[in-house]
Amino acid sequence: MGTQRSDRFDEVEWDEISRSRWFEPSRNTLGVVLCTLPIAVLGFYDWQVLGERTATFAFVGTEWDLGGIDYLFGFTLVLFAFYLVAPLYQNPRMTRYYWRQFKRNRPAVVSLGWLGVVFVGGLFGPLVMSAPEQSVLTGYQPPVFLSIDAAYVDAQTCVGDVVSGRCQGTWQHPLGTTQGGKDVLASIIYGMTISMQIAFITTTIVAAIGVSVGTVSAYAGGWVDETLMRLVDVVLSFPTLLMFLLILYIYGAGLGMFILIFSLFAWGGTARYVRSKSLSVSEAEYVMAGRLSGANTTQVVRRHVVPNTASSIITQLTLLVPGFLLAEAQLAFLGLGDSEVPSWGQLISAGQSDLSFAPWIVLAPGFVLFLTILAFNFLGDALLDALNPEAEAETE
């Protein structure tokens, strides 16, 4: 039973964090700064010095080129490393506790594993494998162990053997190829990068705006609070997809615009939540004590409000991500997405008309998308349980 736990971790542990932050606040921040600097320098170099078409790493002889989104992605990765992973490492006791809570939920562990695969695949896949190449003469190759009628892939174009009128799949294309002969597996792995970029960048923007607006609103009070909360009302009732379509219609939009618009209209819930949490936290005794002992608002926010709301924010963000992934896929499917970006949605969209005879082009990325969204949901649910002992105690 919940009450049997003698030391309530949610009080004890966060205290510890606040303490540890007291002594080493700059260690993580310093890390962020140190890691961001080279990214920024590289970005500046890419932007100012290199021509539009010179690969960023041409000076070390690789073809790997970076775009604006890649830099943003890099930056968010650094943020996550230092503000999420590092604290977990620095507080092994807390980490162990969370892990114990978390691993009781088996689907969530599997989900975390899957997301790990997507993350690693997205981060390193493009580094170790070349981008899927079009090869018009080897279109519609079936996945390994499957086959396709020779009416679609005849003996000339079949990479494998043609057995009794059917072209057999080969290990050369484990998940088959598209109409243009692009390897589906490679496309999916490249799509992981896009999905991870969407996930990381949007969550960073949402978290940044949501936390700022929420805390400012809570601490400023008065008309500032009133105005900001009305703004939240507007943001929440804003038909984001529609606005995106309108902007797409008027100005045209790529992945960057997608990320921007969708994250700019997704922070309402987070801000509202942070505000109410901040209000309740700021009335808590230890914060009062902190205030009496001379801590200013910024310190209070940083040492008490953020740590105390962090768990819930992380959960909320985890549950927001699948929405973004889905939105991207939907737009791509509608043909309104950024077709220069090899996302899963683009792949599904491209294979849609071939579904009746080459279903793998749709099914493979479709299931990967499905599994990823599912994993984020399971993970969010598990985090909800693991990070929120009160809720757990209530439901048990």
């Binding site: 021509g51 078409r53 190449e133 079009q134 090869s135 018009v136 003469l137 279109g139 519609y140 009628d149 009416a151 679609y152 005849d154 109409q179 243009g180 002969g181 045209g252 043909g335 950024d338 077709s339 220069e340 969209s349 491209a350 849609q352 008309s353 071939d354 579904l355 009746s356 005879f357």
Partner: protein, 629 residues
């Protein structure tokens, strides 16, 4: 496939006349019209480029780039080197790579139509071929067709003068599609594009003067300067009094175009259509559908419903303003146009017969059994003359056919006859589809003409719903559901039943009680409808052609078309963004590009063999196609 074939339409040609851009983009571009046959400067060809060179490369009278010995790395690089010699800038090859005078890799972008699978496949294929055979790095960009048209393809008309073929030329009537000399750049910079394809007008190739009648041709967005005497040859063609003379002039034009590759010509795709196997009538040539009233299922008795599917909804059924092929089909079910072309591409009179002595004065003889619905009464020459004079030739109405009637003098000569006098004689005037008219009652038009109310005319209920159609079509329109399509009922009074020409079956046609055109935007659903028998005809993508050929529920037809797939290269000032100068302006360089892109693999890989290699601005089946005497 991007462009869905239209089925059984007598009006295909009529409409495509309005669509030089065969809508490889998402939308058909609105009103694009013909040219004005203007100045025909004669002049010596300056020996600026052409063929001949220091290598043993032989480019014949009618070169076929992209196949056999005019395909491959060697040919392409030889031609490119030749172009570099003519260039003011020091381009060259560094190993396999093509490099700029600064020694940088040559990198170009290519735009394709967003969301169009074939367009994207083609763009990437071109990129690969150019990289392999010419050492050019190509980056593929997607763009919405309309956006490309507005921002890249066109420009503010600026006008200006330039020396073309050693002659001073002035752009007197710049258009957004030809804003001026090569120095006039398009709104946004671009290198290459497969966003748009164009029509090659095999029936009346004279229409092509809009593209190639000199550097000042009405439609020349890429800034192509012909190096042969295009204006002179077009003038010859216009003046020709015999078909042979005409053919001679055109063969020369098309041989030159094949050499100069104003656009890098790639393929001419076929329309692939699946039909209900019970259906008798569909044929495998460009006039497929002209004899639709004779089509029938099983026995030639009136029964059932003829149901087709359309990939897109119709923006208007107003015959005065429609520019879309699909809507043209929908209108054509209800309202015949003046004439059509039969299986042999011969003129076939519907509402009126056209005749001429010299190509200058044309006489229109109306059938006398044509009537509008009540209260408009019989169709007379007065209706047509009024339509042309008060509407098409007015300065306010802006109808889709306005350009066809520019400078044409129309005059009523009897109750059922009128005549038109052209500014310059045109033996193939009907083949240009210009004198095609829909019958519209004069009384319906009058109020709008008086108030010069263009919006009223566009939005007129009777025009939009074709309620005046009388006995002028095979069917009458029951309903136009904007999102879902059109439904029709057989017109028992159809005038075509009483004519003397054409198949005997016309006397009992049409052989369907009802007809419908359903808007089904998903290709998979259209094919599904075809398979389940919900539709009697539907377009088929090449990759599924063979399997449908083996399918007993579907009969497939491969219908050649005059719509091409081209690689447009921007020969204007903002065309070649990778370095100084613009090699696209050099014929030899365009030849190099044409030689670098393999047409065989393209046709095999993307079109499954169901397309023709495109060498010059005519399909192989055109009588004006050079080469095969």
């Amino acid at each position: 496939m991007s462009r869905q074939p239209t089925i059984g339409s007598k009006t295909d040609g009529r409409v495509s006349r309005r669509r030089w851009l065969s809508a490889l983009g998402v939308t058909g571009l609105s009103a694009l019209a013909g040219c004005s046959g203007e100045e025909g400067d004669e002049g010596d060809t300056d020996g600026g480029g052409g063929d001949g060179g220091d290598t043993d490369l032989i480019i014949g009278e009618f070169p076929r780039f992209g196949v056999d010995d005019l395909y491959g790395e060697t040919v392409a690089r030889t031609l490119a080197r030749k172009a570099f010699e003519q260039s003011d800038h020091d381009y060259g090859f560094d190993g396999d790579d093509m490099v700029t005078p600064d020694g940088n890799q040559v990198e170009l972008d290519i735009y394709h139509s967003a969301g169009q699978e074939t367009s994207q496949l083609m763009a990437e294929y071109i990129g690969q071929e150019l990289e392999k055979n010419l050492g050019i790095v190509v980056s593929v960009e997607a763009i919405d067709g309309t956006r490309f048209n507005n921002e890249y393809w066109t420009a503010e008309p600026a006008g200006g003068t330039d020396t073309v073929n050693g002659e001073e030329i002035e752009w007197t009537r710049p258009t957004p599609q030809n804003p001026g000399p090569q120095s006039v750049a398009s709104n946004e910079a671009w290198d290459m594009s497969v966003v748009f394809g164009l029509n090659t007008y095999p029936l009346n190739p004279l229409t092509n003067e809009a593209f190639f009648d000199g550097a000042t041709a009405a439609y020349n967005p890429v800034g192509y300067y012909p190096e042969f005497d295009a204006t002179g040859l077009f003038e010859t063609a216009r003046q020709a009094t015999s078909r042979d003379g005409l053919r001679e002039a055109f063969v020369e034009i098309f041989e030159n175009l094949a050499r100069e590759q104003p656009y890098i010509m790639l393929v001419l795709g076929d329309d692939l259509v699946g039909y209900n196997p019970e259906l008798n009538g569909p044929s495998e040539n460009f006039s497929n559908g002209w004899d639709f009233p004779a089509w029938h299922v099983g026995d030639p008795t009136v029964s059932g419903s003829y149901d087709t599917v359309s990939a897109a909804g119709f923006s208007t059924l107003n015959p005065l303003y429609n520019t879309e092929a699909g809507a043209g089909t929908a209108v054509g079910r209800v309202l015949d146009q003046g004439y059509t072309f039969d299986d042999d591409q011969e003129y076939f009179p519907l509402l009126y017969d056209m005749s001429t002595e010299n190509g200058e004065v044309w006489t229109f003889d109306l059938r006398e059994n044509l009537t509008f619905s009540d209260p408009y009464g019989r169709v007379t020459a007065a209706d047509f003359v009024y339509l042309v004079q008060a509407v098409h030739q007015s300065d306010w109405a802006n109808t889709a056919a306005a350009l066809s009637w520019e400078g044409v003098e129309v005059e009523r000569t009897g109750e059922f006859s009128f005549q038109a006098t052209l500014e310059t004689p045109a033996l193939l005037w009907p083949q240009s589809y210009d004198p095609l008219l829909y019958p519209i009652p004069r009384a319906l038009l009058e109020p709008y003409v008086e108030s010069e109310d263009v919006e009223g005319l566009q939005q007129d209920e009777e025009l939009l719903e074709l309620q005046f159609s009388g006995n002028l079509g095979a069917f009458t329109l029951d309903e136009w559901n904007r999102g879902a399509g059109t439904t029709y009922t057989r017109n028992d009074e159809y005038y075509l039943r009483d004519i003397d020409e054409g198949p005997d079956r016309f006397a009992d046609g049409p052989f369907f009680e009802e007809a419908s055109i359903s808007v089904v935007e998903e290709q998979a659903s259209r094919l599904g409808a075809l398979e389940t028998g919900e539709a009697d005809a539907a377009g088929i993508p090449p990759e599924q052609f063979q399997s449908y050929e083996e399918n007993e529920d579907v009969t497939v037809r491969e219908i050649p078309t005059p719509y091409n797939r081209i690689l447009s290269v921007n020969q204007r000032a903002n065309g070649w963004q990778t370095g100084p100068g613009n090699p696209f302006q050099i014929t030899a360089f365009r030849q190099a590009l044409a030689a670098a892109i393999g047409k065989k693999d393209l046709i095999q890989g993307i079109y499954r063999g169901l397309a023709d290699a495109h060498f010059t601005w005519q399909p192989r089946w055109s009588t004006f196609y050079p080469g095969e005497e």
